[in-house]
Symmetry: C2
Subunit: 142 residues, 2 copies
Amino acid sequence: MTRALEMAKSAAEMGEVPIGAVLVKDGNPLVEFHNLVETFNDPTAHAEMLVLRAACDMLDTPRLADCDLYVTLEPCPMCAQAISFARIRRLYFGAHDPKGGGVENGPRIFGQPTCYHKPEVYGGMQEQECGEILRKFFSERR
Amino acid sequence: MTRALEMAKSAAEMGEVPIGAVLVKDGNPLVEFHNLVETFNDPTAHAEMLVLRAACDMLDTPRLADCDLYVTLEPCPMCAQAISFARIRRLYFGAHDPKGGGVENGPRIFGQPTCYHKPEVYGGMQEQECGEILRKFFSERR
């Protein structure tokens, strides 16, 4: 999560919303990204989506069994569903997101009866620090 | 929708799940894709996601105002949330999807209080034909 936070800080320096994600396979970090929505003009370029896509490409499979994902903010419904499709084993996230989250807020994607694969979820890791970087980013832009 | 169905048929010929999508801007088709999950080893490579990303890239913006999306199957929660993020004006879909849909089934993404942008939704267009191509595809694989 400390590495994901460093990614988030890099995002802020570029004017991107500071959210970072790291994918870990067999205990080793494999891919890391931060949000790149503005840079790529791509509304789907959330840190989690970029990490999942890059890892699938590297491992030559659309399913990331035995992989865990660390992300600084609770994933939105889009990312939560992609995490399920990619068969992520464990999801660790930092700050909870009552406005945009889709795991423990909003549609609670993994709790839907139609959700086929549900990762183990550990929320609230380094919550204070993960949330603070976002609050600082948005307060400076107001 | 007829063009989206043609895309779905091309997908089936490649062994991809036959779902097609077309993005229309100002009444003109701008981008079309079918599902490419297996080809790209990318669990996020649903027809809708590919269309949204390509259109944003072409128009150099992460927001597709005044654009409408036609897709042969009810979008899943991932695609529904991406459609909201991309600010699609109208969503037309073919077959309803009680098992994997996220618009009129499952988490009903656009009905969530936390969903910021909700497109107009028209479901069930050429429903029979859109559903039949999927049933045929899966029955041949069993």
